[in-house]
């Protein structure tokens, strides 16, 4: 008991000594669910962290812990970061949701930013997410114009709204460009498993797909497409190194600008809790350079769509759109509201098969 008291007194003293003087750098912590070498999701968050380093230089001190399992481990890592004097913590995976809120309750002076979640139980928790479906709409269009077999292979991870929304966005724009289009969807039940993703890509190719899309994080499907002479799209990162001939473009998660903005607000003392869903307009979703193999007219169409989304004049979910069972969802000209999109649990009309449950 006595020793605990002494320990706490020591901690208090250390914290007091560490209290930010004017020149003290702002400490920024990141926790990643995967290794930064996954060349996918966690890699891009780390690229965002490096952008913060490059932008602020000595004014910030960033650190990270990678491959943190969601649950008790995440809670411990964030607590230790907070105890070590971190000013703002970016928790970059959905499954960190409850741990973030638990730790935020104990450290009201530390700001927490949680990616892709929906729980904000304390004023020091903010939420951020990217409108990846905007990129999916673009690649859906390109895929439909590039395919010769009219079959697009889609490697999906888990049947959750984020993934279903992506399938729908890609399919709607593929069908608009090519009414013959057919989607073959494989549910991989993993976010990252190179061997399994490669198997899925091979299976889709055997079923006649000549363009592969993926909502899993490894570069394996891209490598298979490259090896067999088909097309694919990079996921989360620019995967051109793994498919110099195969990659048509990639949907890049560009977190850097957001991270810089939020850290700047901590420095200025103007940080506030918020819940944002940003897209191409804010450069959170960015497309990799379009492949030379895309013909000029298709390229022009894709660029026009990107420009319209960026300008806010076009929303990829604009009616008329029916649900898979034929019931109307959006009337002509009607735009989907964010709440429906974030909870999307149905296919749009024309997609074959059922969402597994």
């Amino acid at each position: 008991m006595q020793s605990t008291k002494r320990m706490l007194a020591g901690a208090a003293l250390a914290l007091a000594l560490a209290a930010p003087a004017a020149a003290e750098p702002v400490k920024v912590g990141y926790i990643y669910v995967g290794p930064i070498g996954d060349y996918g999701y966690s890699h891009e968050h780390n690229v965002g962290r490096l952008a913060v380093d490059a932008h602020f230089g000595d004014k910030v001190e960033t650190s990270y812990v990678e491959s943190v399992p969601e649950g008790a481990d995440a809670e411990r890592v964030m607590t230790q970061m907070a105890l070590a004097g971190t000013d703002i913590i970016f928790a970059t995976s959905f499954g960190y949701m409850d741990p973030v809120n638990n730790v935020a309750a104990r450290f009201p002076d530390v700001r927490f930013e949680h990616a892709t979640g929906y729980k904000r139980e304390h004023p020091n928790v903010a939420l951020y997410n990217a409108r990846f479906y905007e990129g999916r709409a673009v690649i859906g269009h390109i895929a439909a114009r590039m395919t010769k077999t009219n079959v697009i292979g889609y490697i999906a991870s888990y049947p959750i709204p984020e993934v279903i929304m992506g399938i729908n966005a890609a399919y709607l724009h593929a069908r608009k460009a090519n009414p013959q289009i057919q989607f073959k969807i494989v549910w991989a039940y993993t976010w990252f498993d190179p061997a399994l993703e490669a198997d899925a890509a091979n299976a889709l190719i055997e079923q006649g797909a000549d363009v592969i899309m993926q909502h899993t994080d490894s570069t394996a499907p891209m490598a298979i497409a490259e090896q067999k002479g088909f097309y694919a799209f990079g996921q989360a990162s620019d995967m051109i190194a793994f498919g110099p001939n195969a990659q048509l473009t990639a949907i890049i998660d560009n977190w850097g600008p957001y991270y810089i903005d939020r850290v700047q607000k901590v420095i200025d003392g103007t940080w506030e809790s918020q819940d944002v869903w940003l897209g191409m307009k804010e450069d959170m979703v960015v497309m990799a350079p379009l492949s030379e193999r895309i013909p000029a007219d298709v390229r022009a169409e894709a660029e026009a769509m990107m420009a319209a989304i960026k300008a806010g004049t076009y929303h990829p979910f604009t009616g008329p759109i029916n649900r898979q069972d034929g019931t109307p969802w959006l009337a002509a000209g009607e735009v989907a509201d964010d709440k429906t999109l974030l909870g999307m649990n149905f296919y749009v009309e024309g997609i074959e098969g059922a969402i597994p449950n």
Partner: protein, 361 residues
């Protein structure tokens, strides 16, 4: 000329000394690796081994966390050790851990939001049953058809991984979460929660269960006929059969016990620190426990020490990542070295060096 000679019996001194020596060698080799990575090796090793225990800023928090991390490792490893001693290789504790968590959580969620003292005890029973049942698959296949329990139990880990993912987006999904994966948070449902028994101590029912398991297995090994059978089957399988010990029955008992322990660990984790069934619920406790069992020389007391040592490298490793920027892979390599040196040094326990004098040709 020097040659290796098998000892008539394993050296008691070396059996006890090799874990310490392995830790020391790991520090040296790990230090070299950290130096090559451009980090100060002394600072790195101090951050991993010393700071979680004594750092003024966060040790008060990390010390109880050692218990949180070591508890499931010790509970699982103790069960595994009994089988390992008998030559029964349950490599699939991770799958039994997941199965126990699913079964226990399912029972708890079935009662939601009912409050009642009986909910948590029922979950504990279901957790143990889930792990036991999952372990019975390799056990019965081995007893009946002679299949390899190593392969079957290992393969069932991947099956359990897929089932828990399906549960997280399917049957056990939180109905209030509008399609997002993951179950309700059991830690926030008082009748099903497994919180610290004394707030901030890190000791929840899982830690208590681990201590009971250690005592139980110790007793079995030292006093009970089962312990004798286990040791005999491990040392001399043929003699054991002549002594009337049924290998099938022993397989079922040992796999069943280790499965039930792993299932309990999963239940205490999902209702406590873990909180919910998630897509990636399995985070490797079942595999790490194999290392812990061997590091602890398959002895209950050794396993307690080994569990805390592993927990220390995990927690210290996390701190080393964000304080001095060591990559996670370096920490994993460091933990791997520990097992490598330990197994390598087993040579010293079982063999000795003998200088041979040879007549000139």
């Amino acid at each position: 000329m020097i040659r290796l000679e098998r000892r008539p019996a394993p050296s008691r001194f070396w059996t006890a000394a090799t874990p310490l020596l392995a830790v020391a060698l790991t520090m040296v080799a790990g230090g070299v690796m950290f130096a090559i990575l451009g980090k100060d090796p002394v600072a790195a090793i101090r951050t991993i081994f010393w700071d979680p225990l004594f750092h003024p800023q966060y040790a008060a928090f990390s010390r109880p966390q050692l218990l949180v991390k070591a508890g499931p490792l010790i509970l699982i490893a103790t069960g595994l050790a009994l089988g390992f001693r008998a030559g029964i290789w349950n490599i699939g504790a991770e799958g039994q851990y997941i199965a126990g968590a699913i079964a226990g959580a399912a029972v708890g969620l079935a009662f939601y939001p009912l409050e009642g003292w009986f909910v948590f005890p029922l979950m504990v029973v279901a957790g143990a049953f889930g792990g036991w049942a999952w372990a019975m698959i390799p056990a019965l296949l081995k007893a009946r058809f002679g299949t390899s329990e190593i392969l079957v139990s290992l393969m069932l880990v991947y099956v359990a991984d897929k089932i828990v993912a399906a549960m997280a987006v399917g049957a056990l999904r939180n109905p209030d979460a509008t399609g997002f994966p993951g179950s309700r948070n059991l830690a926030r449902y008082p009748a099903a929660a497994n919180p610290d028994l004394i707030a901030g101590s890190g000791l929840h029912w899982g830690g208590v269960a681990a201590l009971l398991a250690v005592a139980l297995v110790w007793l079995i090994l030292a006093r009970h006929r089962l312990g004798f059978e286990v040791r005999l089957a491990g040392l001399a399988p043929r003699a054991a059969r002549f002594a009337g010990i049924s290998p099938g029955r022993l397989t079922i008992v040992c796999l069943g016990l280790s499965g039930a322990f792993a299932g309990l660990a999963g239940l205490f984790e999902v209702a406590g620190p873990g909180g919910q069934i998630r897509i990636d619920f399995g985070s490797g406790y079942g595999f790490t426990a194999i290392i812990v069992a061997f590091l602890g020389r398959l002895h209950p007391a050794g396993i307690v020490l080994a569990g805390f040592l592993m927990a220390l490298t995990y927690i210290g490793g996390e701190i080393a990542q964000f304080v001095i920027g060591l990559p996670a892979a370096a920490i994993q390599a460091f933990q791997g070295m520990l097992l490598f040196f330990l197994l390598g040094l087993d040579l010293a326990a079982n063999y000795r060096l003998r200088r041979l004098r040879r007549a000139a040709p």
